[in-house]
């Protein structure tokens, strides 16, 4: 048996309240966890962390050398492009969850070449700016494998590797071209009109 039906307005109000609740809880939890950890450190009662990372029987690579391909012919002569999907608006992150669905500008933040601590600091800074201004949604663009930094805050991010020239997987065209195409794709995907760059090199800059 289904219960009495509820109006859209009532459901929307509840959704907003839930988001507010989640946003508040997330912020409160963050503060409490930080307090707890610092207390544990001071009392020398912090949990012991044991790290293992075994690369056992790693890939015996049979490297493939793809044939180089010529640049694509123009679309008017050889139409291969498809119609693109609508621009995506990602989650505003847990700390600003109430910005969901507000059709805000999505701004790219290029955060490449940082260590985890620096990355944490930058992401915190952006989050604080977002909380203060409440007028944008960040998408982080990175070459650092530190997904947890973004995941804990539920921020959208894009990763594109930045191997040095000697370690780039051979492809059908130069890596630089590939990286440029990816950046263009990501900009179109989120409708990024601005990418704010932190660090010495930008995202997808080979």
């Amino acid at each position: 048996m289904s219960g009495p039906s509820r109006s859209t307005a009532s459901l929307t109000a509840e959704l907003i309240q839930l988001r507010e609740g989640l946003e508040n809880a997330y912020r409160r939890l963050g503060v409490m966890e930080e307090r707890l950890r610092s207390l544990s450190r001071r009392n020398r009662a912090a949990s012991n962390i044991v790290e293992v990372f075994d690369v056992f029987g790693a890939a015996e690579r049979a490297p493939h050398m793809p044939p180089r391909r010529a640049l694509k012919t123009g679309q008017s002569v050889w139409p291969t492009a498809r119609a693109e999907a609508h621009v995506l608006q990602p989650t505003p992150g847990l700390a600003n969850l109430t910005l969901t669905g507000q059709d805000l500008a999505v701004v790219g933040f290029s955060v490449c070449g940082f260590d985890r601590i620096e990355l944490e600091r930058i992401v915190e800074m952006v989050a604080a700016k977002q909380a203060a201004d409440r007028n944008f949604i960040p998408v982080f663009l990175t070459d650092v494998m530190a997904a947890d930094v973004f995941r804990r805050r539920r921020y959208a991010f894009e990763y594109f590797p930045a191997p040095d020239a000697a370690h780039r997987p051979p492809g059908t065209r130069p890596w630089e071209d590939y990286a440029r195409e990816r950046l263009a794709l990501i900009k179109r995907k989120y409708g990024l009109t601005r990418v704010i760059r932190f660090g010495k090199h930008g995202f997808c800059e080979a």
Partner: protein
């Protein structure tokens, strides 16, 4: 990419701006400047639309380049943003132009007749500044637009002069000595739009009088004007918009009298300018003086008839005014005036002359509409491959038969990508071919004349599957023979088409042999499924009616499986549900080859009487040794190759053949024989040799690739790491022969990279919180980029969701294979059924074994027939685990004391902190027990919360299992099978979410076999589990039971199967 000038605007919308852009291109290109065009979409006109015909003509003539790629790296001297309204909702964020100067060209008034602003200049300027760093100025295309802009927005930076509209005066000039006749002829032309006419009947007749002494000629009339006028007076001649060429119209009037509704503001008046260029005297409202100065006469409407009569009487004055008008246009709006206006923005050097056009030479150019779905694309692709492999140089030329949007079919594009053919671009090069093969006459007739004339061929063959109209045959003969010396012939694809052609085309040369489809015979033995699988191919057009006939004669109970390529729309399909055992594919969804690859029989019948049948698909089926079942009317096409029967008997015939391996093998051989005899690439090569007069080179052994094409592992973002770990396990085996790259929706990319595989991340729609329907398109785009760059031949999905974006990227391409590693134990539900229905798109399905498989009641069970079932897939074999002492040392544990591992998963969809806390609190009552908590790599929560309990971070934990005496664990696929295989006594605390795989079933199975405990996580049950697990005897018994259930690692089997598939994908 550098161009002298780049024009950015909406190039698709017909109207004044497109016309101006077309004229600008013509002038600039004629002056030797290179012109690049970038299309942006007006906010009100989103979606696919073809480029405006006027601009398209300029592109076809090679006067400009439509820039599609490298938009983030453009360079120019001058960038012009055409029409600010196109930038009011801008959607090309990648666009970047390095320029020296930038202009925003305004083609219309900044405010309309009601005083309302037509755009937001601040916003537009911001967008334009994001595209280019060049100094930006606003330029009206007429003095009026410039003045209104300056008055409305005094703070804007205006260009010094205007960027004038262009008129080509010589194209309108006629011989005019004075008025044409004894009575004045007043005329005007404009688009049919009510605002372009005076507001009332009275005002209309004031300027276009209904009087016998005046003749009125109006072009651009419509129903609305007719309503306004009541009825047209007898002295009026009326024409619809562009009913006759404007020049012809203008040379037939003396006075161009143009008055309109007060709410309309004419920004420039291109029709007026053209009229003045033709020598007609323009009579206009006074506000237009700013645009046409002394070149026109200005008058209130009520005084127009008197002014016209007076000037008509004074022939000398008429002639003087006419000449003034012509001179004014030449001075202010001619190509020379435009070039003079734009010169200050260009380099102070002579424009570069376009280099002499190169000539590209080919043995064979194949011309057709390369976007056609169905057999045509395959026909062209096979011909290209056959001729290229025989050593001929092939060019492919696309010409759209229709204005419909579409893309080159993947089968054809693959020929270009593989370097077997070049793309013919008559806009940038002249083309010379020994042989021109025209597939689909209409695509030739649709060519712009300049393009057709850039093609030179020694021999032309027009291939005909259905005879065109007689008029088109004659037109083609005339166009192709005009001024040329080549031989032209017509080649029907079948006898039916031959008869039609003979009936319709008089005096044409018809090739003696039919132009049959080409296929590649193979001797691969057919694998026949337990349930017969029948492929049917429906050509575009009439799919619904044909489908209905299939429904009438083939069973829909699953006793036969049908794979139908060219299925009708979903609405039609829904009428016939249920379609048990039927797999339907829209023609664009799936490569024809792949549909046939999954079939045991091919059924075909004639469509549209005897005119047509899917000849390409039949040839492809025969080349695969698939027995043909056909209706008797196809006997003359298929000879001995098919078994013939009426349609209603086809199902029985198929069943009988399927039941007899001997007869099946006979029919399979008959198919192969026919394919070799009638459709072989060698025959086609010989034919091309004859037509081109070139001997084919001995067939090249297929260019040997140094290594097979790459395999792309596509891993779903699961709750844990199962998908990634299974793919790693398979990849470690597979990469001995194939190079593997990863595209991961899971964030565990670091693990993949550490194992030595190139990996890219594709954020999932769930994590990113984006619209699911839109996400697919972007996923597809990234996958296509990866497939293209890494030269991928096979894509392997591990997950339970065959994403639409993945299917769209891979399934339509016959040069790509798609495999699915699909672990069992799915939950029952409509969502599962929908996902399973997508298995029709996969070339290989691998089902990893399930320890608790006998208790699996999920929906995958009944589909096992089509899957390759392998042993459970694990990352390690037992001997690869570290011995206890070594493992304990690595983890800082004392091997002499008991140790327990808590591994409850990622905590993504259940609270594991509370569960862990309950377990940890029990530990304190067991002296000497060591405990570690495993934190998943993709966990949301950190588990370093218990000061006396170490937290294990990293990967893979199972290699350290020997350090532990028992564990508390979730019962996900990987953990469960690792625990069983490595004998780690465990209490399973299952993840109860109903959409998860059957963790409860696994735990129950383990309990039933004595190979584990089930624990619901309550304090009481945790305590009870501890009691048992702390008992060495109980642990030993559990370990023994586990080892009885242990099975070999299926990673090797899975890798072998994928390697075989990947080898097929690297011919």
């Amino acid at each position: 990419m550098y161009f002298d000038i780049i024009l950015i605007g909406d190039l698709r919308l017909p109207g004044g701006t497109s016309r101006q852009i077309s004229n600008e291109i013509r002038v600039l290109s004629g002056a030797g400047f290179s012109v690049g065009l970038v299309n942006v979409e007006m906010p009100h006109a989103r979606g696919p639309k073809p480029v405006d015909p006027l601009i398209r003509a300029r592109l076809s003539a090679g006067e400009a380049t439509l820039i599609q790629d490298g938009l983030d790296n453009l360079e120019t001297c001058l960038v012009i943003f055409e029409n600010p309204r196109a930038f009011m909702s801008f959607r090309r964020p990648e666009l970047r132009v390095r320029a020296k100067q930038a202009l925003i060209a305004l083609h219309f008034p900044a405010v309309d007749g009601t005083g309302t602003a037509t755009f937001d200049p601040g916003y537009v300027q911001q967008i334009c500044e994001a595209i280019t760093d060049a100094p930006l100025a606003w330029a009206g295309t007429s003095p009026l637009t410039r003045r209104l802009l300056a008055e409305t927005y005094p703070d804007l930076r205006l260009a010094d002069g205007i960027l004038p509209c262009v008129v080509f005066p010589d194209e309108f000039r006629g011989k005019r000595k004075g008025p044409l006749r004894s009575i004045p002829v007043i005329g005007r032309h404009s688009r049919a739009q009510l605002d372009k006419w005076p507001p009332t009947r009275r005002a209309l007749f004031q300027v276009y009088p209904a009087q016998a002494g005046v003749e009125v000629a109006l072009m651009g009339v419509d129903e609305e004007l007719h309503k306004l006028a009541g009825r047209y007076p007898r002295n009026w001649r009326t024409y619809e918009f562009n009913e006759i060429p404007p020049r012809e119209f203008l040379l037939g009037i003396d006075f161009f009298v143009y008055y309109h509704h007060p709410r309309w503001v004419e920004a420039f008046g291109i029709a007026t300018a053209e009229a003045m260029a033709s020598g007609a005297v323009a009579v206009l409202p006074d506000y237009m003086r700013v645009n046409f100065g002394e070149g026109a006469l200005y008058s209130p409407p009520e005084k127009v008839p008197a002014l016209v009569r007076a000037l008509h009487r004074d022939k000398a004055a008429f002639r003087r005014q006419s000449e003034r008008g012509v001179a004014y246009i030449r001075k202010h709006y001619s190509p020379a005036a435009y070039l003079a206006a734009i010169a200050p923005y260009l380099e102070p050097r002579r424009p570069r002359r376009l280099s002499r056009r190169k000539t590209a030479e080919y043995d064979v150019v194949i011309l057709g509409d390369m976007r056609q779905v169905g057999g045509e694309a395959v026909r062209i692709a096979r011909e290209t491959v056959a001729a290229a492999r025989a050593g001929f140089q092939i060019g492919l030329m696309h010409s759209a038969e229709t204005n419909q949007e579409g893309r080159v079919r993947p089968e054809v594009d693959a020929c270009v990508t593989a370097g077997l053919a070049g793309v013919v671009d008559v806009a940038s090069e002249a083309v010379k071919a020994r042989l021109l093969v025209i597939h689909a006459l209409q695509s030739f007739l649709s060519l712009p004349p300049e393009s057709a004339s850039a093609l030179r061929a020694g021999r032309v063959v027009i291939v005909v599957s259905r005879a065109p109209k007689r008029a088109d045959i004659l037109l083609a003969e005339r166009l192709l023979q005009k001024g040329r010396e080549h031989r032209l012939s017509w080649a029907p694809v079948s006898d039916a088409a031959r008869v039609q052609l003979e009936e319709r085309g008089a005096d044409i040369v018809i090739e003696a042999a039919n132009w049959r489809p080409i296929s590649n015979p193979t001797s691969v033995a057919r694998r026949v499924a337990r349930t017969p699988v029948v492929a049917v191919v429906q050509e575009p057009g009439g799919e619904a009616a044909e489908f209905r006939k299939l429904v009438e004669v083939f069973p829909r109970d699953g006793s036969l499986r049908l794979r139908i390529h060219g299925a009708p729309a979903d609405k039609t399909l829904q009428q016939f549900l249920p379609l048990n055992g039927w797999e339907t594919f829209k023609a664009h969804e799936m490569a024809l080859d792949k549909v046939l690859d999954g079939a045991d029989f091919f059924f075909c019948k004639a469509t549209k009487g005897e005119d047509a049948f899917p000849d390409v698909a039949a040839a492809e089926a025969m080349a695969r040794g698939i027995p043909l079942i056909a209706t008797p009317d196809l006997k003359r096409h298929l000879g001995e190759a098919a078994v013939y029967c009426p349609m209603h008997e086809a199902a029985d015939v198929i069943r009988r053949l399927h039941a007899s391996p001997r007869r099946y093998a006979e029919r399979s051989r008959a198919s192969l024989k026919r394919a070799a005899g009638f459709h072989s690439p060698q025959q086609f090569a010989a034919r091309v040799a004859e037509l081109t007069g070139r001997r084919p080179k001995p067939p090249r052994a297929a260019a040997k690739r140094r290594t097979p094409r790459r395999v792309l592992m596509f891993s779903q973002n699961g709750v844990g790491l199962g998908h990634v770990v299974r793919q790693l396990a398979v990849s470690r085996e597979l990469s001995k022969t194939h190079d593997v790259v990863f595209c991961s929706l899971s964030q565990a990319i670091e693990v993949i990279a550490r194992y030595g595989y190139p990996v890219e991340y594709l954020p999932s729609h769930v994590y990113s919180g984006v619209n699911y329907a839109d996400w697919h398109g972007w996923a597809r785009a990234q996958l296509e980029q990866m497939i293209d760059f890494y030269d991928v031949g096979t894509v392997v999905l591990d997950g339970s969701v065959p994403y639409l974006g993945l299917l769209e990227a891979v399934a339509p391409r016959d040069d790509l294979k798609l495999a699915w590693i699909r672990r069992p134990m799915w939950p029952v539900g409509p969502e599962s059924s929908l996902r399973l229905a997508q298995q029709k798109f996969f070339d290989l399905i691998i089902e990893p074994g399930e320890g608790a498989g006998e208790m699996d009641t999920g929906p995958t069970v009944e589909h096992r027939e089509r899957a390759l079932c392998v042993e459970p897939i694990r990352l390690f074999d037992k001997p690869q685990l570290l011995p206890r002492r070594e493992a304990a040392a690595a983890l800082g544990l004392d091997p002499a004391r008991p140790a327990a591992l808590i591994q409850l998963g990622s905590g993504t969809n259940r609270d594991i902190v509370e569960l862990t806390d309950r377990i940890v609190s029990q530990v304190r009552s067991h002296d000497g027990l060591q405990v570690m908590i495993a934190e998943w790599l993709n966990a949301n929560e950190r588990l370093d919360l218990w000061p006396d309990v170490p937290c294990l971070q990293g990967f893979p934990y199972s290699r350290y299992y020997n350090a532990f005496d028992f564990s508390f664990s979730a019962a996900g696929y990987n953990s469960f099978h690792e625990i069983l295989a490595y004998g780690l006594p465990t209490a399973f605390i299952v993840n109860p979410r109903e959409y998860m795989d059957g963790q409860d079933v696994r735990a129950a199975y383990a309990v039933r076999c004595g190979a584990g405990l089930a624990c619901n996580g309550t304090p009481l049950e945790v305590a009870a589990a501890f009691e048992q697990l702390m008992d060495p005897g109980a642990r030993t018994a559990m370990r023994r039971a586990m080892l009885k259930l242990a099975r070999p690692n299926g990673a090797h089997q899975a890798a072998q199967a994928i390697a075989r598939l990947a080898t097929e994908a690297s011919p």
